[in-house]
Amino acid sequence: MITHPSAQEIVAGVAQWLPVDGSASIFSLRVARNALEIAARDMAMSPAADARAAERMHALLGRGGTREELDVALVEAIRSGAIASDDPSLVAHLRACALDTIAIDQPKYAHTLG
């Protein structure tokens, strides 16, 4: 799940910063627009991405729960060694998560995941 910052923190942060006296530079306005675009994509795309991730983690961990709960359980399983960091079914899940997350956060980033 994407936090640090959450979409809500981004929107609230832009509102708290946005100067209404016209003093904002063009650069900082561009940054703010980019931030709001990230938050908008997050709100539009995260519910489905979270549902897909939860479904994959049901299978991986053999238990149910919200994405938040399952992320915590998966971190614990990787940390304890119950699931190896290069286990193919884990890596397939992480790949799907990475593609969903990058589509929200930085869709223009040039990476090598096909």
Partner: protein
Amino acid sequence: MADRLSKNELAERLTVLAPRMVPGAERIENLVRLTGGASMATWAFDAMDGAGTATPLILRRRDRPVEYSTVAKPPLRREAAAIARAVEAGVPAPIVAYVCDEETDGLDEAYVMHRVSGETLGKKIASDPAFEPARGKLAHQCGAALARIHALEPLDGLDSTDAETTLANYERTWRATGNVRPTIEAAFRWLEKRLPPEKVTPRMVHGDFRNGNIMVDPNEGLVAVLDWEIVHIGDPAEDLGWLCTNSWKFGRPDRYVGGFGELDDLLAGYAEAGGEPMSAARVDFWSMLGSLKWGVMTMGMYASFASDPSAGPERAVIGRRLSETEADIVAIIERNAA
């Protein structure tokens, strides 16, 4: 503590020091701020002699307290000493003209170096057609420069680290963020399993050798190695891996070295200039650690946003670049499993 100086105050103090930077200089002209890093400012200016001849110079000055880093940043005085030592050994780097006295010069931590011309924008170096000739030789040149840096007698008093300590430090910092990301957890465990089995001979490493911190001529290639701010003692493979970390390929992840070159050329340049044998797996280990390091650093940026959102959303957006490093981490796990 570093003072905020106005441009005029800065110009006045540099004028007083000009003869110590360039013999015969009487004043300075054309002072202009180039960049403000996290804690460092860079200024360009010319020292002028009585006949009106200009010597182009650069001032590096710490103007804010040092920000978070797992390697303690050495004083600028030591950075200048590292550059001087590297130049002597044939590493292309700017010649240091004067190191400021923190007590008497009124510029706090600062030094002055000769200004060389060349391109530092990573995107141009990776993609501009004009830089095609440079791209053909740059990886080899970087390998040679790194071998020469790693052969230097280390300066006294530098921070020392190795893969295991670096990893443990980043893991502690990551845990403190409270963020829950299985991919980052997997990266820590993956690296832990692949820590160098034998003791690595520690070397003086540059610490921030990447596209963006090198100056490049379109035809001649490498002109100068810049940003010696976090020079330290460590595993020499750290420098090669950081140069190959995907975060610094500026849209060209298909080229393994800095978005401009190939690993074989980097390793050949390294070996030909006397570097120790270096395997591709060792470089890839450090490129993974590089991605992880940048991922953890984005969380420092987020924390700074969260503590004062009124400063603007720029650092919040950097927090959302953690996902870039996750894509890179998964790619590295996959290519090493193949």
